[in-house]
């Protein structure tokens, strides 16, 4: 539903985005990853039409991005706030009217959401009277109230306590089930593995990786295994595998093996079987965090 094509954004001497392209599929949760300062926020600001790219194009449902799309996008910035002196209900009403909702419809929806998220009594409260977590709930409601097709959340879980983070996570999943597309921008990988279908990794203004989370993980499997067995038999590298690591826990031994090219796990097992009772064999699957660090470090060394 959203295609970003060859976006370049230059700020004076600093190039924030260098020829970045990506595709976000309808109904998916898309993770926009990258270290701080990589250009994530610059890209989001282009998608939300806060700024315009120097070159390149963005298409929303096949149409070139234009002012009509503003009401179809919901955006929760990383640095977010509310008017301190304004009542919560009025504030959310104002924000949703700016997105084009009518007063009556907006009021109805605010009441529905306030009820759902257990913030019924907050209508007449002022922001100064709410905790940070409570404020974030208000901001979340304001982001989704106009039922946008595309919801962009920049570091959505920072500042939430675990209970509220869970509530919000469930709301996100429910909205997603009902057809909303999400873009998550984050540098925290744990949330990505759980929620995202697809990701793009941006570092130093360039996209360095993108695709489905499963595929990426598969691609980064490198035939390494953890094997746990009884006894303190020690194995050494041979022509089937290389021993990367050996740990002894009580009377068990844990080894991390890297298979040599064209070898399979069975061959490694048959090497060990004569010497020990095998308890467990796990493939080492890289976490997104590992991949992230590997890619980012790799690029930084170039």
């Amino acid at each position: 539903m959203l295609s970003v094509k060859n976006i370049v954004k230059q700020y004076a001497t600093h190039r924030a985005l260098n020829d970045v392209s990506l595709e976000v599929e309808k109904g998916k949760i898309f993770g926009l990853l990258g270290p701080n300062g990589a250009g994530k926020t610059s890209l989001i600001r282009i998608i939300t039409q806060i700024t315009a790219p120097d070159s390149g194009e963005v298409f929303f449902n096949g149409e070139r991005l234009n002012a009509n799309h503003i009401s179809q996008i919901g955006y929760l910035p990383e640095e977010r706030g509310l008017y301190k002196k304004m009542e919560i209900g009025e504030q959310v009403l104002y924000l949703s009217k700016l997105k084009g909702l009518h007063t009556s419809e907006a009021t109805k929806r605010i009441k529905y959401w306030f009820e759902k998220l257990e913030m019924k009594d907050w209508w007449n409260k002022k922001v100064e009277d709410l905790s940070k977590g409570m404020q974030q709930k208000v901001q979340f409601v304001a982001t989704i109230l106009h039922q946008p097709e595309l919801i962009i959340l920049d570091e959505p879980f920072s500042g939430f306590d675990p209970v509220n983070a869970d509530i919000i996570k469930n709301e996100i999943l429910e909205l997603n089930k009902n057809g909303a597309t999400f873009i998550f921008s984050t540098h925290r990988m744990e949330s990505v593995e759980e929620l995202c279908d697809n990701i793009a990794l941006i570092n130093k203004s360039k996209k360095i990786l993108d695709g489905a989370v499963d595929e990426i993980k598969n691609a980064y499997r490198n035939n390494a295994y953890w094997i746990e067995y009884e006894g303190d038999y020690e194995t050494a590298s041979n022509d089937i595998y290389e021993v990367l690591q050996t740990e002894k826990v009580k009377n068990h031994t844990l080894v991390k093996l890297q298979l040599k090219p064209n070898r399979v796990a069975n061959e490694a097992l048959s090497q060990l079987l004569p010497h020990a009772n095998i308890h467990r064999l796990d493939e080492v699957i890289p976490t997104m965090n590992d991949i992230f660090i590997e890619k980012v470090k790799g690029q930084n060394h170039e």
């Binding site: 700020y11 004076a12 600001r45 939300t48 039409q49 806060i50 700024t51 315009a52 120097d54 503003i70 996008i73 955006y75 929760l76 910035p77 640095e79 977010r80 706030g81 509310l82 008017y83 301190k84 002196k85 304004m86 104002y94 924000l95 009217k97 700016l98 997105k99 901001q139 304001a142 982001t143």
Partner: protein
């Protein structure tokens, strides 16, 4: 367009509903009325105070004319010895004893004034003036001029100023009233531009430090937000202005009618009129407020009040737009109000300069070249023009000044808009003018 309206609404109502706005709106006219009442009170008290009672002990046979009381000093001749009079001073109903010894009219010497308090310079001058006058009258009489001839010598000249309008019609005008209105308009204009300009700046900083800005600019264009804020606050200003005019009029009318019920007022008016003839128009303004008020009322007919108000409103809106756009740009460039100083100075300076020059040079010479140029340059024209307008300004000058101001505010709004859209999203960097110029040159 609809969104700008929403923003204007929010900016307007969030301010108008504030307690401080309501308090300010209702308190200020009361304060102004209070200050006037205070001035009136002191002026009145001043007149009473300066109305000293002087007992005269005269040992003078040469001087046959007698000192007669006037509105400053009342003289009573007492038939006591100087020593007795001195003794009685503390319980007597006179404040001072004037001792006139025997002297020749050619060299009047030895006049003494005794009092429980140190007599002021002005009393001293008044009494000596009265005695000099007395001696002069006597000398004139001695040289054979009759009382009727003497009376004929006294003449009072009242100049009534008339301005010839472009139409050739002569209009009654009063330099005093024009100056009064010019000052009031100039001070009000300066206050309004400053107050509301700074409100715009605060509003921008608030949105930036609240970090709500990014949510809002994902719904509306930064320019819409800036204009919505500026227009919303302008409406707050106009509301306040209108309320002030209405309330001030109501309160001062009430106060004046309350005041006039008292007997005192007649006394003041009478003495003011007497004083006017003697000491001229200058003292009148400082001594009693009723004088200029009546004066203004009289010559308001000569001034085109409707025109003055319309011009004032135009230049208020124009000047406000011109400056508030700059204030908005400043607000967008900083992270907190404490950082605004370095940018405030260059914006404040022309405004202050315009203010100071308008109230001094322009009121002295409202048709001079300084006045002309000040009322053309958009940085100073809002103040200079409203100061000039009560004295009358040629139509083409007014039109030109308005046109320049209009072009001026379109330009500042445009420039500010370009700085604003970048500035509001910049955090944590200390902004310089160079940086602001760079923002200005950014594409989108």
């Amino acid at each position: 367009m609809n969104k700008i309206l929403l923003i204007i609404q929010r900016e307007y109502f969030s301010r108008v509903k504030k307690k401080s706005f309501i308090v300010m709106t209702f308190l200020t006219p009361l304060l102004i009325a209070g200050v006037y009442a205070l001035i009136g009170f002191f002026a009145y008290k001043g007149i009473k105070d300066t109305h000293d009672k002087v007992a005269i002990v005269s040992a003078n046979k040469t001087l046959t004319e007698k000192l007669s009381s006037n509105q400053n000093v009342s003289y009573v001749y007492i038939d006591k010895s100087l020593d007795q009079a001195k003794k009685d001073l503390s319980k007597a109903d006179y404040d001072y004893i004037l001792y006139l010894p025997e002297f020749s009219l050619a060299a009047p010497k030895g006049v003494e004034l005794f009092g429980a308090k140190q007599p002021g310079m002005s009393l001293n001058r008044r009494i000596s003036g009265d005695i000099e006058e007395l001696i002069r009258t006597q000398k004139l009489k001695e040289s054979g001029i009759s009382q009727t001839d003497l009376d004929k010598l006294k003449t009072t000249v009242d100049i009534s100023t008339k301005k010839i309008a472009e139409t050739g019609k002569e209009e009654e005008s009063s330099a005093g009233a024009s100056t009064f209105i010019a000052f009031t308009a100039g001070v009000l204009m300066f206050m309004f531009i400053m107050m509301y300009g700074i409100q715009v700046m605060r509003g921008v900083i608030e949105e930036k430090t609240n970090r709500i800005i990014e949510v809002i600019v994902s719904s509306v264009k930064p320019f819409q937000l800036m204009m919505g804020k500026i227009v919303g606050i302008a409406l707050v200003g106009l509301t306040q202005f209108m309320l002030w005019i209405v309330l001030t009029l109501a309160i001062s009318t009430a106060a004046v009618s309350l005041f006039t019920n008292k007997e005192d007022i007649k006394e003041i008016t009478a003495s003011t009129q007497a004083q006017t003839q003697i000491s001229g128009a200058n003292q009148m303004t400082s001594a009693a407020p009723q004088g200029p008020v009546a004066d203004i009322q009289k010559s308001l007919a000569g001034l085109d009040v409707g025109k003055i108000i319309v011009v004032f409103l135009f230049f208020f809106l124009g000047g406000y737009l011109f400056y508030s756009a700059l204030y908005a740009a400043i607000g967008s460039a900083v992270d907190s109000e404490t950082e605004t100083q370095q940018f405030m100075l260059p914006v404040m300076l022309p405004l202050l300069l315009g203010y100071a020059l308008s109230l001094s040079v322009v009121t002295n010479d409202p048709y001079g070249s300084t006045a002309f140029w000040l009322s053309m340059i958009p940085f100073t024209s809002p103040i200079a023009m409203v100061v000039r307008i009560p004295y009358g300004v040629p139509g083409w000058e007014l039109a030109l000044s308005m046109a320049i101001l209009a072009v001026g505010f379109v330009a500042t709004v445009w420039i500010a808009g370009r700085i604003y859209r970048v500035g509001i999203l910049m955090y944590g960097k200390k902004t310089t003018f160079k940086e602001m110029f760079k923002w200005f040159t950014y594409k989108n």
